[in-house]
């Protein structure tokens, strides 16, 4: 088949680039609906305050969990302002309706000014558990983060850590799926 308006080399190149672009960017979006359900909660413990993660962090985690076979649904509930993992897990179990809970409790600590940047370390305790009373899988992961500006603090550090954090949480999810608890 030959489309008359694609006879010119420029038009063919443009169509090829568009197809390549859509193929490269579309892959993750297709996968997010697949897999077991999981209620996803990400909490940032910043001093004596608790915050939920940014949309950027949730998006990265949802994409990565989809890659690992979990259809994750972010959950934000006031119960997450509890301080202990057990109470947060209980709150997620009560509020979510998925068959699994993915609880990511994060802290960001300043490391040093290094060569013009602000080095932070984001530490996350990842707990994945069945929504019934089954045994959870708990792992601690760390992500180094370099921020550009002094006014960027814990929340920005967590946002900047999103991609690496998602990949590490994904590895935990893979182990959980493989039955390693």
């Amino acid at each position: 088949m030959q489309l008359p308006h694609l006879r010119s080399p420029a038009a063919r190149c443009a169509l090829s680039l568009a197809l390549l672009w859509s193929g490269l960017f579309g892959a993750d979006a297709l996968a997010s609906d697949k897999g077991d359900g999981a209620t996803l909660v990400v909490v940032l413990d910043a001093g004596d305050q608790q915050e939920f993660a940014s949309q950027r962090t949730y998006d990265a985690l949802v994409r990565e969990l989809a890659r690992r076979g979990f259809a994750a649904t972010p959950l934000e509930t006031d119960a997450m302002y509890e301080r202990t993992t057990a109470s947060r897990l209980d709150a997620a179990r009560a509020a979510g309706d998925s068959s699994n809970i993915v609880l990511v409790e994060t802290q960001a600590r300043f490391f040093a000014q290094i060569a013009g940047r602000y080095r932070w370390t984001v530490t996350a305790e990842v707990t994945i558990a069945p929504s019934d009373e089954g045994e959870p899988l708990v792992r601690t992961v760390e992500v180094p983060v370099f921020l550009l500006y002094d006014h960027e603090r814990e929340a920005e550090a967590l946002a900047e850590a999103s991609v690496m954090l998602a990949r590490k949480v994904g590895s935990v999810a893979r182990d959980y799926r493989d039955g390693e608890r």
């Binding site: 004596d48 305050q49 040093a112 940047r117 370099f146 500006y149």
Partner: protein, 489 residues
């Protein structure tokens, strides 16, 4: 020195058994840049044209051991130690070939909090800055870079203050220590999306009569004799009946130099992510001694009075723009510097010049991990005291008013160097979009046009001698291809 370094590392690692987990940070920049035009692998002379392709290898490891972990939200005392090793050489990528002698233990400090009020104390090295011009790798608004001592920091949300006092003697006088006390401080106000900051630092070197490595000045030395290295020769001409041993004794001096810095930051509005503007004015600390040879004897000329009027003004800005979210980012930066020397009205020098530069980097994200980078820069450097640059292969060397003069205090045939650079290529960023996201794996082309002949590090024979076997080459364009990576962790 090595024993001290090893001892500190041993101390760090032995205490680690009682502490939280040690945390390691680092930075590496390594490139392969085969240069077919005879250069050393850098596109231009220095990072005034942007750090990209103008800087060579760098390796940095920073170790942090939390001896007592900070417990956020409590007033429990905490303490940690940081130690940093860094240097400009990596095996196979530069002339240093990664030899450890090119590295140094540049930072060691212990921090402690909740031990005396709301102040975070830092004892040891004291480097602190308001921010960074990342595209230039320049930090004009920095304090205490040269000092070791005590730094206190208070951060109360809207107001951040830093104050300290240290000793910069070993940094400014590495081979001839004399104490140089550096009190100073700064404040930063955070007013929502606007930040203001100001600070300053003094350098006081006391007069220490009788100490060989203290600050002195040889009296009655004309600046021209000093800059020509002819102080003894001219003194002997003026005093033919005197013996060189009767050359005037140096007089002890004290010195007070200073640095003032300012900062303005704003952003988070539309496509503007953030703009940082930095300014600094610094009166450089006087130098100590120059050694001259006269009649096959070496003589020390103490130069405190001849080098105590040097001032450096630096102003720079960097603006980060998110033009199309997750598709196209840009960073625009500019830098201006003016170096003046009240003592020197006659000789070409790096202390008497000004420069201005601007550069723009754009990064297009074809996919989250495959990007296209494009950067362009333009810069002008002006020598205030006359010609400083050779524009042609047959330009004069030492000169006066553009004419060859073996006793001239100028150099070459131009007092201006204009430099234009373009850089571009493919960037692989495993961690996704971001101009400053690292690691970056890059294949880049760089092109430079400079008004100066062969304006890049090279090993050409720059001679008009008829016995020059290699000849002289005139070249204003310089091209390089770079296979490089840069990583923070």
């Amino acid at each position: 020195m090595r024993r001290v370094a090893l001892g500190m590392f041993a101390m760090v690692w032995s205490s680690a058994a009682l502490a939280g987990a040690p945390d390691l940070a680092g930075y590496f920049r390594v490139a392969g840049r085969p240069d077919f035009q005879g250069g050393d692998g850098r596109l231009g002379y220095w990072n005034l044209y942007g750090r990209l392709l103008n800087e060579s290898s760098w390796a940095l490891i920073d170790l942090r051991v939390p001896i007592v972990e900070e417990n956020p939200g409590t007033d429990d005392p905490w303490t940690s130690v940081n130690a940093r090793v860094e240097g400009g050489s990596i095996g196979a990528s530069d002339a240093g070939n990664g030899r450890l002698g090119n590295l140094r233990l540049s930072q060691v400090y212990v921090k402690a909090g909740n031990v005396l009020g709301p102040i975070e104390w830092q004892f040891g090295t004291m480097e602190w800055y308001y921010g960074d011009l990342g595209l230039y790798d320049v930090r004009p608004a920095s304090l205490f870079n040269e000092s070791v001592g005590v730094l206190g920091k208070v951060d109360q949300g809207r107001v951040q203050a830093v104050f300290g006092v240290g000793d910069a003697g070993y940094t400014l006088r590495p081979d001839a220590y004399n104490p140089i006390v550096t009190p100073g401080g700064g404040v930063r106000l955070r007013l929502g999306k606007l930040e203001l900051g100001a600070g300053g630092q003094a350098y006081y070197e006391p007069k220490v009569a009788g100490k060989r490595t203290a600050l002195y000045s040889t009296p009655d030395v004309p600046y021209e004799d000093f800059v020509r290295g002819e102080v003894m020769l001219r003194w002997q001409e003026r005093n033919p009946s005197l013996d060189p041993s009767q050359f005037p004794d140096p007089l002890p001096r004290s010195a007070l130099s200073w640095k003032a810095v300012g900062y303005l930051g704003f952003g988070d509005a539309g496509p503007l992510v953030w703009t940082n503007v930095f300014a600094s004015v610094q009166r450089l600390h006087p130098e100590r001694v120059r050694t001259e040879t006269f009649g096959q004897q070496s003589y020390d000329v103490y130069v405190a009075d001849l080098t105590d009027e040097r001032t450096v003004v630096t102003i720079g800005q960097q603006t980060q723009l998110r033009l199309v979210p997750d598709r196209l980012d840009a960073v625009w930066s500019a830098l201006y510097g003016k170096h003046s020397d009240g003592d020197n009205g006659i000789a070409v020098s790096d202390d008497v010049r000004w420069y201005a530069s601007t550069l723009l980097r754009t990064q297009l994200y074809l996919t989250p991990t495959v990007h296209l980078l494009a950067e362009g820069s333009g810069a002008r450097e002006v020598s205030v005291n006359g010609n400083a640059f050779r524009d042609r292969a047959d330009s004069v060397f030492k000169s006066t008013n553009g004419l060859s003069d073996t006793r001239g205090l100028a150099f070459g045939d131009d007092d201006v160097r204009d430099t234009w650079q373009v850089k571009g290529g493919v960037v692989l960023n495993p961690l996704g979009p971001g101009v400053f996201a690292r690691p970056s794996l890059r294949v880049l082309y760089g092109g430079q046009w400079s008004s100066q002949n062969n304006a890049f590090g090279n090993a050409f024979v720059a001679s008009l001698d008829q016995n020059n076997q290699f000849g002289s080459v005139e070249r204003h364009w310089h091209h390089i291809v770079s296979f490089e990576t840069e990583v923070w962790f």
